[in-house]
């Protein structure tokens, strides 16, 4: 199942820059405060988290899963630009890979959140939920305006930054006391770390071969 299409959200991705500009500027330009906003969650319009008795997961786990949905959704948005921006064949395929993998992961995260009685953001959440490594409004504009080899270069540069943000989210999660012990969250976070570390390696090679 494609959660994006299934839930009729594909359209949200096509809506242009207007939404991006509307994203809370304070977050985008206040990286130092990011972690606090990320953890608090409520500043981004997310409902408070309540942890059932006996659960192995913590608020940090819930916020990680919610935040990663937004993080992934932006990566999918970026990836879907490739085909229409004269990117190289190789890059279009790589972008398609990110698109397909992260769609599936969004479904997983949403399922985990729902199964555990937590609020599950949808895929438009990235417009309101800036996470580490996500592109700023300015960067998105640049990417949306690029074509051909320039697009390839910008995409790789920005996606490396984006992936490094995901790695930071994972290491922040694991560095939080008592967090990352729920098996599903732990396996998923490790998968993100493994796959995105590998993809950063690939992208660096692709970038240096441009």
């Amino acid at each position: 199942m494609n959660p994006l299409r299934h839930r009729g959200r594909a359209g949200a991705f096509i809506v242009a820059v207007a939404f991006v500009v509307a994203a809370p500027k304070a977050y985008a330009q206040d990286p130092a405060g990011m972690d606090h906003h990320h953890m608090a969650g409520m500043d981004m319009g997310l409902p408070p988290v309540s942890i059932p008795n006996g659960a192995l997961f913590t608020e940090a786990d819930v916020r990680f899963m919610q935040g990663m949905i937004a993080h992934h959704a932006q990566a999918i948005y970026m990836s879907r630009l490739a085909a229409g921006h004269d990117a190289s064949e190789h890059l279009v395929k790589f972008a398609q890979k990110i698109d397909q993998s992260q769609q599936a992961e969004i479904r997983l995260m949403q399922q985990w959140l729902r199964a555990n009685g937590q609020f599950a953001p949808d895929t438009s959440a990235w417009r309101q939920m800036p996470m580490p490594g996500m592109l700023t409004a300015e960067q998105l504009k640049q990417l949306e305006g690029a074509k051909g080899a320039d697009f390839d270069r910008l995409f790789l540069t920005f996606m490396i930054q984006h992936h490094e943000g995901a790695l930071k989210m994972v290491s922040d999660l694991f560095a939080t006391p008592l967090a990352g012990q729920d098996v599903d969250v732990s396996v998923f976070a490790n998968d993100v770390q493994t796959v995105q570390t590998a993809e950063i390696g690939l992208m660096r090679r692709m970038l240096s071969n441009l």
């Binding site: 199942m1 990011m34 890979k97 640049q142 320039d150 490094e164 098996v183 396996v187 490790n190 493994t194």
Partner: protein, 630 residues
């Protein structure tokens, strides 16, 4: 393989993949029997070709729940007439003396994701990675760092009904999987190579661990595979003795662009006196000025040393060839393990189609290695008709002069549903003379046997598949109804051929035993020949070398293959068949005489054959059988 093994300079050993010529299949549009199988946990529809289900056993009650990944089964190990099945919450020992009725001998409850097992004699090794794993195995998670167990648990299973935990060997990065490698010199010592995806723990949790950034630094616990040395007579003395530093120098293309980027980053860091998250990330050289002018979003500052891989998901050792294939994130590595304490990387291969180099299996002669790509991590449905065919499957590489060359991809030729987590996963060889057959689990894609004898044209030989665990969404399902999907992760974690049967670990459902049945792609003789290979102990990641005894099914396997591939004219294969039938009815010297005469006749057939090598091998097998008949 045994020619002088040059130790290549690291720089030249790195091959950056350009594999545009590698071809991939496409999903067939025909009526595959796997299409549209009925969903269900225990009543799912089944489809099989070339194999049949001998028995299915549900998980033992202790693990019989479908709560996410907490109780899923993991990998298998084999010894005597026992199968050791890992589980994220412990392990099960099955007695398979009667494969039609496997019997649970013991169930050990011990929270240990992901629980991959290996067995050496009476010692069972179990991989522990999860952050909630405790030294005392209890539920409830880790409250104090000292309670955390990440590494390898060692059990004494001399009484399989009552396994005893001997020792928890803690490692810096935990243990996602592990690989046992016998010491080539000392039969009382095995080494265990530890693979894992996590960063190193903090020194405050485990002394000596650190996430250093210099891969060559001997004190850096990140860029290495921890190596445990186990004195088999004193397993309680098992400890980490060294780190396999097989990543050193493995940077993603040391081009000038990379160096400029690294220098820019260093300058940025030095100039601003810190590496806090608020630092703008360096902009690589070659990026348009407009991009450079924009403040980058917050991310970890780029650390150039972290760009190469620093872990393997899995490594497969082939001890008799002194080789190891490392499936290491963005690289497939070939490593010389003549000295397990000092492994030497021989070659490295990258491929942008591969999302995650996951695991590997060598051909029996060591001339090929199949790497798998765990696209989607095993929890995602990556075998749908829309999923790219060259991703999430196998890739076949040949090994020549210690260099890897990539050939074709293989993925199961059956589109699975969106409810089925599916990707290429663990497996091992099916020992058939003259062919390279790989049996493996594809999660909910089922159990599959593929032929990679011709590295450019792999194909499917047999399969067993069930419908999805979960039903598909009903038409018109709304957003709220999505929560109805349980998103159950299931299917075959790994499937292995062992002493005549295929054993498959089903994540959600339990334990399957299957048997090969003859088809036009695999003959009764080939199946009979495979049964002649007996292994007392089998740890798939420590690949055994197999040999065939002199036997009629072995000779007839080659004959069947020559008939199948038109490798020899049919009048010739017909007359060889006749002579073999005659010999089978004879015994002793008479049989030897018939076979010797036949061997000479077959020698004469080599020249005119379109597959002369196979004819030659068959002649040699006939001679070996003649010698054994005297």
């Amino acid at each position: 393989m045994h020619t002088a093994r040059r130790i290549l300079t690291l720089a030249t050993a790195v091959a950056v993949g350009a594999v545009s010529t590698v071809h991939a299949q496409t999903y067939p549009t025909g009526n595959d029997p796997r299409n549209g199988l009925k969903p269900g946990m225990y009543d799912a529809g089944e489809a099989a070709q070339g194999m049949r289900l001998v028995s299915f056993s549900k998980k033992p009650a202790q693990f019989d729940t479908a709560r996410g990944l907490t109780f899923i089964n993991s990998d298998l190990a084999f010894r005597d007439h026992y199968v050791y099945q890992g589980n994220f919450a412990g392990f099960t020992i099955w007695d398979v003396k009667n494969p039609a009725k496997p019997r649970v001998i013991s169930v050990v409850s011990c929270i240990t994701s992901q629980g991959d097992p290996s067995i050496i004699g009476n010692l069972l090794f179990i991989s522990a990675e999860g952050n909630g794993n405790r030294t005392d195995c209890a539920k409830g998670g880790v409250k104090e760092a000292q309670e955390h167990m990440a590494g390898v648990r060692i059990y004494d299973v001399s009484n399989p009904a009552s396994p005893k935990l001997i020792k928890n060997v803690q490692t810096c990065k935990g243990s996602h999987t592990h690989t046992v490698i016998p010491d080539p010199k000392d039969p009382n010592v095995v080494y265990i190579y530890i693979s894992g995806s996590q960063m190193a723990r903090l020194a405050t949790e485990l002394a000596g661990c650190n996430n250093g950034s210099d891969p060559a630094d001997v004190n850096n616990s990140l860029y290495r595979l921890d190596v445990i040395k186990v004195p088999l007579k004193h397993p309680e003395q098992a400890e980490v003795v060294t780190g396999a530093r097989i990543f050193t120098g493995l940077e993603p293309a040391a081009t000038s662009a990379m160096r400029r980027e690294a220098m820019a980053e260093r300058a940025a860091r030095g100039g601003r006196g810190g590496r806090g998250n608020g630092e703008p990330a360096a902009v690589p050289a070659g990026v348009p000025a407009s991009a450079a002018a924009a403040p980058a979003a917050p991310a970890r500052p780029f650390d150039p040393s972290k760009s190469g891989p620093w872990n393997c998901h899995d490594v497969t050792a082939y001890p008799s060839m002194h080789l190891l294939a490392g499936a290491c994130a963005s690289y497939g590595l070939l490593v010389d393990i003549s000295n397990p304490e000092h492994p030497v990387r021989l070659d490295a291969k990258a491929d942008t189609n591969f999302s995650l180099w996951h695991t590997a299996v060598f051909s029996n002669d060591g001339s090929k290695v199949v790497f798998t790509d765990e696209w989607g991590g095993g929890t995602s449905p990556m075998c749908q008709a829309t999923s790219m065919m060259e991703m999430g499957g196998n890739s076949i590489l040949t090994i020549h002069d210690n260099k890897l060359t990539q050939h074709a991809y293989f993925k199961i030729p059956s589109a699975q549903t969106a409810q089925e987590n599916c990707v290429s996963h663990n497996g091992g060889l099916v020992p058939v003379p003259g062919r390279d057959l790989f049996v493996q689990g594809w999660y909910q894609g089922g159990v599959d046997v593929s032929d990679f004898t011709d590295p450019d044209h792999p194909f499917e030989v047999a399969f067993f598949d069930r419908g999805p665990v979960d039903p598909p969404p009903a038409p018109g399902d709304t957003t709220t109804a999505v929560s109805r999907f349980r998103g159950t992760i299931g299917g075959s974690w790994g499937a292995y051929y062992w002493n005549g049967y295929i054993y498959s670990s089903e994540l959600a459902r339990g334990f399957d035993v299957l048997q090969l049945v003859p088809t036009e792609k695999l003959s009764a003789n080939e199946i009979a020949a495979a049964k002649l290979v007996r292994m007392e102990q089998y740890n798939p990641q420590s690949q055994p070398h197999y040999t065939f005894p002199p036997a009629f099914p072995v000779v007839r396997s080659y004959l069947d293959q020559l008939v199948r591939n038109n490798g020899l004219a049919s009048d010739k294969t017909g007359s060889i068949d006749k002579a073999l039938t005659t010999a089978e009815r004879q015994s002793g010297a008479a049989r030897a005489k018939t076979l010797t005469t036949l061997a000479s006749q077959v020698d004469g057939d080599v020249a005119g054959a379109s597959d002369p090598q196979r004819v030659k091998t068959m002649a040699a097998e006939i001679r070996r059988l003649a010698a054994a008949s005297k």
